[in-house]
Amino acid sequence: MAQANGNPARSADGGRTARPRRSVAVADHLIAAVPALWLAVFFLLPLAFTFVFSFGHSLFGGVELGFTLDNYRLALSGFYGATFLRTLRFAVTASALCLAVAFPAALFIARLSGRRKNVALLLILIPYFSSFLIRIMALTMLMARGGVVEWLLNGVGLHAGPLDLLDTQTAVFIGMVYAYLPIAIIPLVVVLDRIPRALVEASRDLGASRWRTFRHVTLPLTRPGIATAALLTAVPMLGELVIPRLLGGGRGLLMGQAISSQYLQSQNYPLGSAMAVLVLVAVGVLVAALARMTKGFVEVPR
């Protein structure tokens, strides 16, 4: 979000094209209409259904429209309320872990020279060419008993005997960080890359240590990247249901699983919808908080 606006130079000299401004605007609108229509039909419409359903009464495999807040009451109370909080905690923790791992990697990549930087980014993105599920299934093979991780840890003497890593929380977080790392690294690299070298040099010239320079110059300037990375990882993590299932043995319930089981197994669309709306609200709050964090970054100083 931030870096989309972070390059005012390009839109400012948009007059480079010879065509008159007006026809450009019409063409732009036409081009924008396609995705807008797409989103309206396939995103906003289902969303509207979800919203309306969430106030209805459940029939098995159907909905009786009406207005009741019972679904929300149920979704927020007792067990499902606890699940909602656990999910928030889970997403925030996993996202923070992911960013903690991504930041040093991004810093390293941003400092590489042009060609090497592209190669590094390519290497980060290559796993994305294979199916998400295949990658997670591959992780289960690595972490299973008698797998490569066990062999490796035994080999270097960090662990003795069989390793029961699979079906634990640790395995889930390893999987989460692994799966979401690239989408945390990319926005960080983009922002770090834009920080003028001169600012860092000036800070050093003025006697700041490396650490102080990082804390007071680099880190504050990276805020939009951090916000974007946090957003891009935490939002899908709120709905994650495959990784906790495949790597965590399905212990401890998260919202993603709870919603899908309400929709499918229980055929209780209203309750599932209410839960989905709550997750959406949580996402909204998250976006608002992160937007606030990047305030003042609409124009990145060059």
Binding site: F60, G61, G62, F79, A82, T83, R86, S131, F132, L133, I134, M137, A144, R145, G146, P162, D164, L166, D167, Q169, V242, R245, L246, G249, G250, R251, G252, L253, Q257, A258, S261, Y263, L264, Q265, S266, Q267, N268
Partner: protein
């Protein structure tokens, strides 16, 4: 069903990426004069499908789902139009029929006489008005007698063994509410199809306190049972057979006082566009040689009478295909989804899984 679901879910997950592509094929399949099957993935022997194509010139178009609830949701929506044959499990037949999503079968056009009477006229579909048994499985327990230290005969033994040090933390339970809570209900002398909310919740409490011993609620990987990362697990006989194939020390038992029989069934979708072709295909499927081929392909027993004697002698651990020797079908019970209680089963199951977290 759910121990079966698990096996399929894994397959389903693997196939999900390509599954998207499969879904894309559905509209093409809806041409008249063909045959549209909506089924579990990998649930028809490729050999018998090829033979059917050769015989009739019709290539059945198969699209897949990975759970009965997905099947229900799809047939219950406009996207469910155009299917001829579906393969629901015993638990969902009643609900599908009640919603008017299944066609009543014309028994005159099918040879029910060749089928195992143990699998006919069961309480999920009296008189087989809507369903023809396709294959079946059992809920049982696989365990490592050395690791567990005792013999398991009943569900009481199962719960006691799971709490022992060395076993605790290496237990696998089903992810289906009725398969985890069911055993506790049976120990209370209750019928899982008649149990009310209070009964289910009470049985659920036992499971919630047992949950701390549980390592996994997901598909039992035969390797995990064979290599000792799981030493005590609920599963179906198919997974048990795979695990025992890898580690012959393991034992399989269908615990008392009772356990689950699930049956997957052929059924005809309401308004099937190719009704005649559907009956033709079903008659073909019920032929003895096709039933044998299906059994060897999917690893679960088809429903024909005397199937055991028809299987090749090269099939390993053949008794286990049938859940071991001397399974008494009259003692087994099949779950029937009831809109009044299914939500409670699932809610309690969620609580059990959360308690294990």
């Amino acid at each position: 069903m759910t121990s079966m679901l698990n096996r399929r879910q894994t397959l389903g997950l693997f196939g999900a990426a390509s599954g998207a592509a499969l879904l894309g094929h559905v509209p093409r399949a809806f041409a008249a004069g063909g045959l549209n099957i909506y089924s579990w993935p990998n649930y028809f022997s490729s050999e018998s499908l090829a033979a059917y194509r050769k015989k009739t010139g019709v290539t059945p178009a198969i699209s897949t789902y990975d759970s009965d609830d997905t099947l229900f949701a799809k047939l219950n929506s406009p996207a469910g139009a155009g299917f001829d044959i579906v393969v629901p499990s015993s638990s969902w037949i009643e609900q599908l029929a009640a919603k008017g999503l299944l066609e009543e079968l014309d028994h005159g056009r099918l040879d029910f006489g060749s089928l195992d009477p143990d699998l006919l006229d069961r309480d999920y579909d009296r008189g087989n008005k809507y369903s023809i048994p396709k294959d079946w499985g059992l809920l049982g327990v696989i365990y490592d007698p050395e690791g567990v230290g005792t013999e398991i005969r009943t569900w009481e033994d199962f719960f006691k063994a799971g709490e022992k040090p060395g076993v605790s933390g290496k237990v696998r339970l089903s992810d289906s509410g009725w398969e985890t809570i069911g055993p506790a209900l049976w120990l209370d002398g209750k019928d899982w199809n008649a149990a009310g909310e209070a009964d289910i919740r009470k049985a659920g409490e036992r499971l919630k306190s047992f949950a701390r011993n549980v390592k996994s609620f997901t598909a039992l990987d035969a390797n995990a049972a064979a290599n000792g990362s799981i030493v005590l697990a609920q599963c179906n006989q198919g997974t048990a057979r795979a695990a025992i194939g890898l580690n012959p020390k393991l034992k399989w038992v269908v615990p008392g006082p009772t356990s689950e029989l699930w049956v997957d069934n052929y059924a005809i979708a309401k308004g099937a566009p190719n009704l005649d072709q559907a009956y033709d295909f079903l008659s073909y499927q019920l032929r003895p040689e096709v039933q044998v081929s299906e059994t060897e392909y999917i690893g679960f027993p088809a429903a024909i009478k005397g199937l055991r004697g028809k299987l090749g002698t090269d099939v390993k651990n053949v008794d286990l295909i049938f859940g071991g020797e001397g399974v008494d079908f009259s003692k087994l019970t099949s779950f029937v989804v009831n809109p009044k209680t299914i939500g409670i089963y699932l809610q309690v199951q969620s609580e059990i899984q959360a308690a294990a977290g």
